[in-house]
């Protein structure tokens, strides 16, 4: 029941997205605009300051991710479909996991374009170790999305939800951004040190496990009136 429900929700989100393509394009474009803004802020005398590439990447991911989360749940607010999802007999955790999967896929798509572009623009040798890079970016994205999906779902019926989401989300995802940036920096180093990358990766994996579990526990009580 649970797996089928998750699959149905993911498939539904993908179908809606493919029809409208709104989220994919706007998220990607927004992420790229962020990168551009950071470029103008950080580039001096035609050269990017050393080592800002990873920072720019993760800032763009977090801002674009925030936008995507808000928009995804705004969609479910339209015809009160989130309410309809709360009415089905399928376990509510399935709704959480389904939405989480959708967001992670959307962000993965964005990052697939974003990472190479940031690497080129900021001369960061991130792409030298693709396996490590993908692991760090993936676990960081999952951690961010795990917390973000819960908060965005929580806030659907709240007032001021647009501004409350980043207010709540960013302090809680501080470990993700630190680990993500330091991990990516370590990957971009000329003398690659697997130990350091492994440390940050472990932290991210631990974060993901703890917070997905916590979100699964609290989803039901928090969404029940």
């Amino acid at each position: 029941m649970m797996l089928r429900a998750i699959w149905l929700i993911v498939r539904k989100d993908l179908t809606v997205e493919v029809r409208s393509r709104e989220l994919a394009y706007t998220t990607l474009f927004f992420a790229l605009s962020c990168v551009l803004v950071f470029a103008f802020s950080l580039v001096q005398e035609g050269r990017a300051a050393d080592g800002v590439g990873p920072g720019v990447l993760w800032m763009a991911i977090m801002f674009a991710g925030n936008l995507a989360l808000g928009r995804t749940f705004e969609r479910e607010r339209q015809a009160e479909t989130l309410r309809a999802l709360m009415l089905v007999p399928a376990p509510r955790e399935a709704v959480y996991l389904g939405k989480l999967t959708g967001i992670v896929l959307l962000l993965a798509l964005t990052e697939a374009v974003l990472v190479p572009i940031v690497a080129f623009l900021f001369q960061a040798e991130m792409l030298a170790h693709p396996f490590w890079l993908i692991s760090v970016v993936a676990t960081g994205t999952i951690g961010f999305a795990a917390v973000g999906t819960l908060f965005a779902a929580m806030l659907v019926r709240a007032r001021s939800r647009d501004v409350l989401l980043p207010v709540l989300l960013y302090p809680i995802t501080v470990p993700v951004i630190i680990a993500g940036v330091r991990g990516t920096v370590a990957i971009a180093q000329p003398e690659f040190d697997a130990e350091v990358v492994r440390f940050w990766l472990t932290l991210l994996v631990a974060f993901d496990v703890v917070f997905v579990t916590l979100a699964l526990w609290t989803f039901e009580p928090v969404m029940t009136d």
Partner: protein, 234 residues
């Protein structure tokens, strides 16, 4: 895991939001094969009451019993409850068939796609089944929404203002559908403003004002007169 029940008993149920009492000590009982109408002005608490019956909201006090079960068996109860809300619960980008198949699947129906087709045929919307819901007229969307609410053959059907924005043909179709639901043994509870329509349809009526039951009528006739008398023109 399939539960069923013969009657729904609302016992001294209240619900407040902060200082505002939305529903105040409501008690009533409905059984199979009955259509109950909740009548009253805006803000009377009809939608809140329906939300509690749907297990979306928990009462602040009192109890709602579904046969021998109470609302703590929420997850299994939901499989037997169908809700048509104020907002239609349909994804505008998906087609009518996709919407029905999606929710059908979530309600545990194995062959949700063929069920969706059958439902749309019955609603007379087979021709538009592959059109996105956003492109349908209000009346058609309402019909799809109704089928979505009923696709899993619920024992309890809750409808909030189902006649809003419907033309004559759709209204007739809805009335017929509700009657056949009732005859099939379902419990139907609907909230409506439309007293003329309710007149021929309801088996029982509850008049609500400011969250309280002002009057209950069995086999109601002369609804408009009673409404005016009981609730007034406020």
């Amino acid at each position: 895991m399939s539960v069923d029940f013969d009657e729904v008993a609302v016992e001294d149920v209240s619900r407040h939001f902060g200082r505002r009492r939305a529903v105040s000590r409501v008690t009533f009982r409905v059984s199979r094969g009955m259509i109950l109408g909740l009548l009253g002005p805006n803000g009377a608490g009809k939608s809140t009451l329906l939300a509690m019956l749907a297990t979306l909201l928990r009462p602040s006090s009192g109890n709602i019993r579904y046969g021998a079960l109470d609302s703590s068996a929420r997850a299994s109860l939901r499989a037997r409850i169908g809700v048509l809300g104020h907002d239609l619960f349909l994804y505008p980008e998906l087609t009518a068939r996709e919407n029905l198949a999606f929710f059908g699947g979530l309600y545990g129906i194995a062959d949700s796609d063929s069920r969706a087709r059958t439902a749309l045929e019955r609603a007379g919307l087979d021709a538009r089944r592959d059109d996105p819901v956003a492109s349908l007229s209000r009346g058609m969307r309402q019909r799809v929404a109704l089928e979505r609410a009923l696709i899993h053959d619920p024992r309890l059907a809750l409808l909030d203002e189902p006649f809003t924005g419907l033309d004559d043909a759709s209204t007739e179709a809805l009335l017929a559908r509700l009657r056949s639901l009732r005859d099939g043994g379902a419990i139907v509870i609907l909230a409506t403003h439309d007293l003329d329509l309710a007149e021929g349809l309801l088996d029982h009526a509850l008049f609500l004002r400011e969250g309280k039951v002002i009057q209950a009528m069995a086999a109601p006739g002369g609804l408009r007169a009673t409404y005016r008398h009981v609730i007034g023109r406020s």
